[in-house]
Symmetry: C2
C-alpha cells in the first residue's frame, strides 16, 4: 500500500528541477488528510480556505496537474462536469480500486479488484497496445436510491 510522503514529493520534484513550495506541500497534505475522497480543484480550494490557508485557485489547478504528472495523484471524471483527483494507487505492487457511481444521487463508492490484471496481459498480446493503467466505472443505483425508488 504505497502512501506518498512529503519526502517522495521532494524527491520527485528534484528529479525534474521543480521546486518544493509550501503550496504544493499543502495540496498534497490535503489528499493525505482526506483518504478515499475524490476532490475537485474547487474542493481543495474550499478546504484550504476553511483552514485559513488561501492559495490561488490557478495554483491549485497547477499543483493538481503537476502532482498527476509526477504520478502522485490520479485524475478522473465522474461526469459531474469537473475533474477529480485522488492519491494514485496504481503501480506494480498495488491493488486497483474502481468506482460504483450512483446515477441518481451521484454518490461514488469504491471497491477493490485485481481481476483485470490478467485481462490486460491478454489485450496487450492481442492488440500490441502497451497498457499502463486502467479505469473501471460501474453505473447503477445505490442501496438508498433503490429504496427511495420503491416508495
Amino acid at each position: 500500500m504505497p502512501v506518498f510522503t512529503m519526502e517522495d514529493l521532494r524527491r520527485k520534484l528534484q528529479e525534474r528541477q521543480h521546486k518544493m513550495t509550501p503550496q504544493r506541500q499543502t495540496v498534497l497534505q490535503i489528499f493525505l488528510d482526506h483518504p478515499g475522497e475524490h476532490l475537485s480543484a474547487e474542493d481543495v480550494h474550499g478546504i484550504l480556505r476553511s483552514n485559513q490557508l488561501e492559495i490561488g485557485l490557478a495554483t491549485v489547478y497547477r499543483s493538481l496537474e503537476l502532482l498527476s504528472d509526477l504520478g502522485i495523484l490520479q485524475k478522473m471524471e465522474f461526469g459531474d462536469g469537473c475533474s477529480r483527483y485522488e492519491v494514485n494507487t496504481t503501480g506494480p505492487s498495488s491493488h486497483h480500486h474502481h468506482h460504483l457511481i450512483c446515477t441518481k444521487c451521484g454518490k461514488v463508492i469504491e471497491f477493490e479488484d485485481d481481476l483485470l490484471e490478467n485481462l490486460e496481459q491478454d489485450i496487450m498480446e492481442k492488440s500490441g497496445f502497451n497498457i499502463t493503467d486502467h479505469q473501471v466505472k460501474f453505473f447503477g443505483y445505490c442501496k438508498e436510491c433503490q429504496d427511495s425508488i420503491e416508495n
Copy 2:
C-alpha cells in the same frame, strides 16, 4: 446486435410524449452512418454542416442528451475536454466493448469483452448496488507510438 432504427426512436419518443423531429432523426442518422466513431457535439455539428444540413449547436447538444436519456446513445469522456457519444451497445443480450486510449496520440481503439458480466453480479451481491452499466478504459501506448518512442 441491437442497432437502433428510426422506428425505435419514434417509439421511445412517444413513450415520453416527446416529438419526432427532423433534427432528432438527423442526429441519430449520423451515428448510424458513423459506426465505431466517438463523436462530440462539435463533430456532429460539423458533419451536419458538410452535409448542408445546418442544425443549431444548442439543438445538437439537446438531442445528444435526449438520445442518451432514451438509451440510444451512450455518453463517454476520453479526457480530451469534451463529451463524446456512440450508439449504445449495452443491454441484456449485447456484448460490451471497451476502449484502449493511447496517452500519447489520443487514438481510441475498441475491443470486445464480456468478462465483467460475472463481476457485476458479484459486486451487486456484495455491495447492494444495483448495477445497470459499466465502462472500462485502458490507458497506454498504441503500436505506432511505441515505435516512435523507440526512435
